[in-house]
Amino acid sequence: MEKMKKNKLAIALTATLGLGAFASTAQAINISNEGVGEYAYIPYFSVTKGQSEVIKLINTSNLTVAVKVTFRRGTDSQEVRDFNVIMSPRDVWSGQIVPSATGAKFVTSDTTCTVPDKNQWVNEGKGAYSVEFDTTRFGNNVSLRSENVLTGFNSQLISKIQEGYVTVAVMGVSSISTDAVNTVPYLAKHVNGVPRSCSSIDWGFANAFASVKSQFSQAENVLSVQSSLIDPARASAIEIPVSNLANAFNDGQGAGFGINNISLSSVDSPNASNVSPAASDVFSDRDAKLYSATFDAPARALSTVFQSESIFGAFDTTGTAQSSWVVNFPTKKWLMDLKPAVQPFSDSIVQISQALTDEEEAVTVTSNKTEFSPFVAPVVPRLALPFEVNVITFSKLNPLSSALNTDAAQGYAKGWQQLGFPTAVAVTGTVNGGTSGGATATYTGMPVIGFEYNEDTGIAASTALRYGKNISAK
């Protein structure tokens, strides 16, 4: 008890230490080539079939890292739970989303410190602790600009959260030595497999937040995030393709201790609206150019990183095979909430054009023979995807048992499909520096992430959807 008091006092005093300052260069958000970054999107979680989804974080650095893990419902990105994880240098933390009576909950047996501390979680026994996803905070209220999606909602979807996605954000890092007594890094450091005092860190967040914040500087690219969707009873598992983003939360040059995105666990932050600076670096394969531009809103900058003119992938529903595509519009909530501009979203319901091909190159949208005039062009099939996380099914088979499903009605048992975004509004930004500095960069398409899911008897596999970028500068 005495030790605890001492720890708490020390947290409060640490702000006065001379801790120096980091010199860092402001950079623009980009997809990490190394799978290590500051912000990660796990595009889908599901417990609809009794699955569990494992999430694993690896701190690849010698720094103490404060992380925010946020779970969002698939209908409209409203937050259903978040908490902070304080990772000591080189620490690995894991836990899993599992079914519960009210939908889903997060369970962990990992001893790494969390805020709230484990004593505020439900003790599941054998060293495991859980926290339920919240279904009461938003109730039937959908996100601000999603009212016209209401027809697509049914109360089941939001009264029992079983599908959604997860974001993992580095709020800040600390280079304070883990031997500096009673600092957050000291308290979070594992000794004989257990952190020194997670309850003291929790106390610090609740009662000496300014001091806690002062011990961290802005985020660095140190976190690797992995996720697997597991069906334990069937012994099957797939890797969920995670988007790891680098340079997401960099406030500016010379950021030092106390300049960070550290937030209380009760606050939905940082998120897409906190991306800083509001700039992105996107490489376009089409013209082999790196587009670096600045935008009018942080979420728009993030959006351009994911923006694609089209997505394509394969499907197979022959025999016992089944396929689904998870299509997530990760910035929709934030961009739809921006007024007056909503680019690239023109409506809450995203219209999708389909180009379908079977394995013999037969297509649904073009004629392969000569035609008499007047020729009536075939109607391009369209889908309407109402949610932020959508699951496209094929041949009305729903292998993920998703309630966020829309059937492709593709007409072929096996083939590939390309989806376009005919109603997308082009996003524009101002090119940073270089010979094109000041020019207008234009990004077409929609911000989208996801993967195709394929299963046959006893086998399941996933692969990221393929994206086609279209960026130009004038």
């Binding site: 009794g50 569990s52 494992v54 694993k56 690896i58 690995v92 894991s94 899993q96 599992v98 079914p99 054998k126 495991a128 992995q226 697997s228 597991i230 069906d231 334990p232 009873a233 069937r234 012994a235 099957s236 598992a237 890797e239 008897t457 006893g458 086998i459 399941a460």
Partner: protein
């Protein structure tokens, strides 16, 4: 008096033993369900597919052989331990739900094995006087 008392005690013990035996033979559905769910999973953990197959519905076994049954399962993780926690009769003599704790090990993408434990829920149905796994 002593002989009479001894006889009474022995008879009482015999009655209790008989009672236990009767429960063991006829059993009650909750205990039977837990035992069958536990035994099925112990067979699965041992990869004794023939034994595990015997808990499938009679109708399923008429249309699917043991190889088809085997193909329902993948090999992405290794089952380690099973513990039947409880059984709840949903509809008398028709359906029941069984909760079990399953421990397994999985190799995540970074190649590091991870031990995990989850609660799984199974629906069982009663047909031809016995309980069978329905899912």
């Amino acid at each position: 008096m002593n002989i009479l008392r001894q006889w009474f005690i022995i008879t009482l013990l015999q009655m209790q033993l008989l009672g236990c035996a009767m429960v063991g033979i006829g059993g009650n559905d909750v205990e039977i369900l837990k035992e069958r769910a536990q035994a099925r999973w112990e067979a699965l953990i041992k990869k004794d597919w023939d034994a595990a197959y015997q808990y499938e519905l009679p109708a399923y076994r008429q249309t699917h052989d043991v190889n088809q049954f085997r193909s329902k399962f993948g090999s992405k993780l290794q089952w380690k331990h099973i513990e039947a926690k409880n059984a709840v009769i949903v509809q008398e003599n028709k359906t029941a739900d069984v909760k079990l704790n399953l421990a397994y090990q999985i190799l995540l993408s970074d190649g590091v094995p991870m031990d995990n434990e989850v609660e799984i829920n199974e629906r069982w149905v009663k047909q031809e006087g016995d309980w069978w796994i329905a899912n």
